[in-house]
């Protein structure tokens, strides 16, 4: 067999924390994305509703989903890095 990581990785004590946080944030985003798909499927006319600056719900929600993904990504990275720094002090740092 020719598997296994291409580079040597040290232990990472933050794996469980990161995995749990990742799953939580995934479900948060999936819910908001699912709501967007549901509105478009069952009542797309609502998407014409003007929200602000003359923009309708379709554009605000669509742009919002894109921006929200970026923001969640930054938040996720912040907490993961913090936890890695905290838990991997005495290891070589699997995540480094």
């Amino acid at each position: 067999m020719d598997h296994g990581p291409a580079v040597q990785l040290g232990p990472d004590n933050a794996i469980r924390y990161k995995s749990k946080l990742g799953v939580i944030l995934f479900f948060v985003y999936a819910f908001i994305y699912g709501l967007f798909v549901a509105i478009n499927t069952f009542n797309p006319v609502i998407m014409e509703t003007e929200i602000f600056f003359g923009l309708n719900l379709a554009i605000v929600y669509g742009f919002g989903l894109i921006l929200f993904a970026i923001i969640l990504g930054i938040i996720y990275n912040y907490f993961c890095t913090k936890k890695e720094d905290e838990l991997n002090i005495n290891t070589k740092g699997g995540a480094e």
């Binding site: 990742g22 995934f26 003359g54 923009l55 309708n56 554009i59 970026i70």
Partner: protein, 635 residues
């Protein structure tokens, strides 16, 4: 449409290609080992990898396909942008770090890391190969579509050219050169798309998009018993009249040239409006607006019919802010060009007639996807299926997954994914401006929606057109390189080395990878020529559906369900690949492609995700539960 090659465009294009090839030869000496060839030695820094991710992912489908789809179907095209980007959330939160931690060169390595199962090696290798080839088709189609306006060469030449260049890039320096080609292309694409969007906003909206824009004539007509008996402009003579549903078209002759017009109006007030037409005559001649293609009478189109700013109708707006641009379109009207096919004697005629569409309908879903009053349960399921496939497909694409092995650590994998999300997300926001910009600025070739972005750039001058076209071409090069690396890894590493157990030295592994790259590149060239004319974003949607069905259930369950067995994964991947492809082949879109009636399609959905993804999950769970004993015995 007929295109004339621009020397500037040719110059920019060759400069880019030579740069890319120079990079490949420069990196060639650093890729003597299999680790260097498949993963660039795991030495790419996270910011570079992040932009390369964007360069890899923002394919012809994103740039050409989505812009084209938005230009023809408004917000419905933008739904692809949203779905493609949302998929990165799955990649970041669920897949990125574990993939880096578990795998070596390919996605199959990660999937098989706990089991050493030949079944997994076989099905996952085949799955990677199939998905990569499905994804390659639209890229090659995009290359062919681009080479015509850029270099004035036929479609097949573009496909062969891209195929050959990419084979050279991959075969010389593998993942290292592929990474830097993607980095370069990703950066350029985002920078010049931003410039294009600034140009759109700076120009604002105008009822006449440009000085050279064709003005569609209108002639008053008199009817008797539903037939046109006379028209106001006596230089034309009525030749024939054909009805298609509730649409009425009239052929007029002038100076030996026949043109088609749409009849609209009501009792006592009838108008003929010029349309675009393509006629295949009995003798096999093809006429564009009644004349041979070379006469250049077939125009790029797209204009506004009404512009309303702050409640007042105006002819033009002047520069607009990014929000004002959409708020004005929302309250205005746009002319969309819808195709209709009619028969006139022995001639087959395709007509693109204008349909005045309210801006508020263009900027919300419903023009392409049937989700409104005219919808059925099937059409709604089709929509949900597509959105599901886009969401779950990204994190399962082999060419995306292999990029996790090019960085030194899981932390770098995570950070590079965030850079990718930011870069890709920003670009996808730009697609809505570019697509709508093409729709209202005469940037539409009605025969090929894929040309919207370059044609839009052309309305701002030949320099921007040359650069945007060359970048679009580079877009294809970058993505195809990544796909071919993924496919060659699947063949040489997963199938030859792991599944077949061939004892290859490190240098032989690299050689096997390079030979595989040449073969896969050859297959991609043939398929790119065969699939000419299909919207590239639609084709990519299908590749996503196969990836989401075949790979994602296995990845998710491996990571989060301890009872997952090797047989469960093998069965799930196999069922995912087979079921999704079977549904695609039996779908209405494919029936239309075969030249059959789409209504006779065996399966009513175009996108298989809503059936094949849950099916693949279910198979994995059931088979894993039934094979617990054998799993514990093996352990």
């Amino acid at each position: 449409m007929i295109y004339t090659a621009s020397p500037i465009a040719i110059g920019v294009f060759f400069f880019f290609v030579l740069t890319v090839l120079g990079l490949s030869f420069y990196f060639a000496r650093q890729t003597g080992s299999s680790k260097g060839y498949y993963t660039a030695g795991g030495t790419i820094s996270w910011p570079v990898n992040g932009v390369a991710f964007a360069g890899d992912y923002l394919s012809a489908a994103s740039f050409l396909g989505i812009c084209g789809m938005i230009a023809t179907a408004g917000y419905d095209g933008f739904l692809y942008s949203i779905g493609y980007l949302a998929g990165w959330v799955v990649a970041l939160f669920v897949v990125a770090e574990p993939m880096k931690r578990l795998g070596k060169y390919t996605f199959t390595d990660a999937l098989d890391s706990k089991f050493n199962s030949r079944g997994i090696q076989l099905v996952a290798g085949i799955s990677s190969l199939v998905i990569s080839i499905f994804y390659l088709i639209p890229q090659m189609v995009g290359a062919g579509a681009l080479v015509t306006p850029l270099l004035g060469l036929p479609h097949y030449v573009g496909v062969i050219m891209v195929g050959s260049i990419v084979i050279l890039i991959v075969a010389t320096a593998g993942m290292k050169s592929t990474t830097y080609v993607q980095f370069l292309k990703g950066g350029l694409l985002i920078v010049f798309s931003t410039i294009l969007v600034f140009s759109i906003l700076g120009k604002g909206l105008n009822l006449k998009p440009g000085d050279n824009y064709h003005e569609f004539k209108k002639i008053e007509a008199v009817l008797s018993g539903g037939s046109v008996t006379s028209i106001a402009d006596k230089s034309y003579a009525v030749s024939s009249q054909v009805k298609s549903g509730n649409l009425d078209f009239v052929k007029l002759d002038k100076g030996g040239v026949s043109t088609w017009w749409q009849l609209t109006g009501k009792e006592g007030n009838w108008t003929l409006t010029e349309v675009l037409s393509k006629t295949k005559t009995e003798k096999g001649e093809v006429l564009y607006n009644g004349e041979p293609k070379e006469a250049e009478k077939f125009y790029s189109v797209g204009h506004m019919t009404k512009i309303v700013v702050d409640g007042k109708e105006v002819e033009k707006t002047g520069p607009l802010g990014p929000f004002k641009f959409f708020s004005v379109i929302q309250k205005s009207g746009v002319s969309l060009f819808n195709p209709v096919t009619i028969t006139d004697g022995e001639d087959k005629v395709t007509i693109w007639h204008q349909k005045n569409t309210a801006g508020n309908k263009i900027l919300r879903p419903g023009l392409k996807f049937k989700i409104e009053r005219d919808s059925s349960i099937t059409s709604k399921l089709n929509f949900v299926s597509l959105m599901l496939s886009l969401f779950f497909g990204t994190a399962a694409l082999p060419h995306v997954l292999i990029r996790y092995y090019t960085v030194p650590s899981p932390k770098d994998a995570r950070k590079s994914t965030i850079v990718a999300i930011a870069a890709i997300g920003f670009f996808y926001i730009l697609t809505l401006y570019m697509g709508i910009g093409a729709m209202v600025n005469g940037g539409m070739d009605v025969e090929s929606s894929n040309m919207a972005a370059p044609l839009l750039a052309k309305t701002f001058g030949v320099y921007l057109f040359a650069i945007i076209s060359a970048i679009a071409f580079a877009t294809v090069l970058g993505t195809v390189s990544g796909l071919i690396v993924a496919a060659s890894g699947a063949v040489a590493h997963d199938l030859m080395t792991n599944f077949l157990g061939m004892k290859l030295s490190d240098s032989s592994k690299v050689k096997a990878g390079k030979i595989s790259a040449v073969v896969v590149g050859g297959i991609a060239i043939i398929l790119g020529i065969l699939f000419k004319g299909m919207n590239v974003s639609f084709l990519v949607g299908l590749a996503f559906a196969i990836a989401a069905s075949a790979n994602l259930p296995a990845i998710i369950m491996l990571l989060f369900w301890k009872k997952t067995t090797a047989k469960g994964i093998t069965a799930s991947v196999a069922v995912g690949v087979v079921s999704s492809i079977a549904i695609i082949l039996l779908s209405p879109s494919m029936f239309a492609m075969y030249g059959w009636n789409p209504a006779d399609a065996v399966f009513p959905l175009d996108n298989p995700g809503i059936i094949s993804i849950p099916l693949s999950f279910t198979v994995l769970v059931v088979v894993s539960l039934f094979t617990q004993k054998s799993a514990s015995k093996t352990a």
